[in-house]
Symmetry: C2
DNA sequence: CCGGGAACTGGAAGCGGTTCCAGTCCCGTT
DNA sequence: AACGGGACTGGAACCGCTTCCAGTTCCCGG
């Protein structure tokens, strides 16, 4: 906290006065806008340096009607959803892109009513210049809020049931299809899917990809075993799957967390991977590399997803009209399949 | 974006006018401050509801000199440090605590010069009501910035070489000692440590804990093999350790990521865990439970760490003077040791 | 019926910038 | 020497909300 100087931060008025110019000129000099003579511009800069003046962002925000911040809101019924390393990677990308545009990142975990209310206030009260929305579920109240927001909104992944104007998504269906086709191409026939939450578009799309691949190969898809994208959920779903279809020889899990859970269940059930059951995940999180056996998985460019969301938002804030983006996925073959 | 109504957000003036009161009264009614008659208070509330009025946070911030936001800054020479799931958990805790105080969370990944500069501006320009600082390294430029900041600063973990006035930390040395003592108690004698970066206080403290335990048992500690807290680093360090001391029978890794890397190296080297080499980690991240074998590790309450940092900051912002906190750790025994 | 204090009220002064706009200045032209 | 125009300049009006303070109003005991 403050040590010596109880002196307030210098204001632009003080800078102007010391530099012997008016506040307007000082302001222009600061933002190096035109209509400032060389001499005065330098005078202002000198005083700024000498006083260590830093403009008050709040005042600037009020005057320009721009907050200088973008919000990333992660929906979920439970804050622990955020513990998924997926989001951390998104943030790394988004943060870098926002930094380029000199925007700050506000992070909102909209996991409670209170949290959603705060997001609503943010949206309606212009508490940020724009918002990135992720992890929406079916009938997510945030979707409605975003609809009415008079503020740029970019979706990360698409919400269920509607296609927003601006979004960045991975090719979930395509990746899932590729994963399933790979399993089929290795001679697996009784291929099941541990699908993610079907109240999310990612879960649905990945299931569609699985189903299309199966149908394309002329094999009846097995009924999806739904889990919640967590390791524990994947483990439980795998157990359920073994109970119902003990003869599966291939499993496409809709994300790596679930795949790792499945791996654990299979190990405990004494079913060697990939000898008896081949497993493919989705995401290519760090855990995929570390799993035993290392996980064959569909890599989606998560950091790029964050980066592109942020760039899209920056473009929107800048008055442009960017087009939605679908990022490609790529199968990474390791030992599990 | 805006669909129909090009109508601006209503302002407090409009609310006041429609409610037939002055702006001051409207303001007081809004913040339910005293000195407003029941009738007018209700009139204001009615209009607010009917207009869907939301106060402009920027204007409020300017007037109250409070931004309504707290920043969490994560230092690092590379944004990828943030991919460590550790931070996500901190955020879950911090976010919840800030929500209670109705503060927003700004996340700053100070991984570049530009990033640090922005943090500096935040600190000097009063862009937030307070700051939480994490992952500082030796001679971290952020430490100096924090020093001069006329703003509450809470440290997550202690910086190297100095003890700040306000911080929340885990009992790193104690946890490391417990881990090492556990290994010793199980009959291991050639116990080594894969220490984390020794330019961080956490790395040092955990090394001290290891050393103290060894000395306490009358055994010469092995020279620490330093790694960077990553899985890859842990794997490499383990390889180096095997090359130098092929006869180790116990390893304390200063975090779970490194422990998992060590597990991988040991598996590849054909050294069964825990039969030949017992491994203990630190953190108890999700990966510990999933590792093969499941990792015995020192759990630190990461979410609580975030929560307590945020609470401490809230207290500081509220003018109180909280005391530093050291959170206890606890050994979680699984199969790897 | 009056005095006095408590409860309310609203005008006005900020908070610290940005930006519009009406002037000034300074030159090169005519 | 008067003139037109572009480059500068600074006064003043915001941006939208909080809060101080000087009044008003209201109510109650005397």
């Amino acid at each position: 906290m403050a040590e010596g100087a109880p002196r307030r931060q210098p204001t632009l008025d003080e800078v102007a006065e010391r530099a012997g110019v008016s506040r307007s000129v000082a302001s222009r000099a600061l933002n190096n806008a035109p209509h400032v003579s060389r001499a005065k511009r330098e005078a202002v800069q000198r005083v700024v340096r000498q006083l260590g003046y830093v403009p008050n962002p709040t005042a600037r925000a009020l005057a320009t009607r721009q907050t200088g911040a973008a919000a990333l809101v992660v929906s979920g019924e439970d804050p622990s959803i955020f513990a998924d390393p997926f989001f951390a990677q998104v943030i790394v990308g988004a943060s870098a892109a926002l930094e380029e545009a000199d925007l700050h990142l506000m992070l909102c975990l909209a996991a409670s009513d209170r949290g959603r209310e705060r997001v609503a206030e943010l949206l309606r009260g212009k508490g940020a210049d724009g918002v990135m929305l992720m992890a929406l579920r079916e009938n997510d109240p945030l979707a409605a809020l975003a609809e009415q927001a008079e503020m740029p909104v970019v979706f990360g992944g698409r919400p269920v049931g509607s296609t927003p104007r601006w979004y960045v998504d991975a090719d979930n269906a395509g990746g899932a299809r590729e994963a399933t086709e790979y399993l089929l191409s290795r001679g697996r026939r009784r291929v099941a899917t541990l699908c993610g939450r079907l109240d999310t578009e990612a879960g649905r799309a990945r299931y569609r990809g699985y189903r299309d691949a199966m149908l394309g190969a002329g094999i009846d898809p097995l009924p999806p075993v739904e889990a919640d994208f967590t390791e524990a959920g994947g483990a439980a779903a795998m157990a359920a799957l073994l109970a119902g279809h003990g003869d599966v020889d291939g499993v496409f899990a809709a994300n790596d967390n679930m795949a790792v859970g499945a791996l654990r269940t299979l190990r405990e059930a004494g079913r060697p991977v990939p000898a008896e059951v081949a497993v493919v995940g989705f995401d290519d999180l760090a855990v995929a590399r570390v799993a035993d056996p290392p996980l064959t998985t569909v890599r989606q460019p998560i950091t790029a997803l964050g980066r592109e969301m942020a760039r899209m938002l920056v473009a929107l804030v800048g008055g442009q009209d960017p087009t939605p983006l679908i990022l490609p996925t790529r199968l990474v073959v390791r030992a599990s399949a």
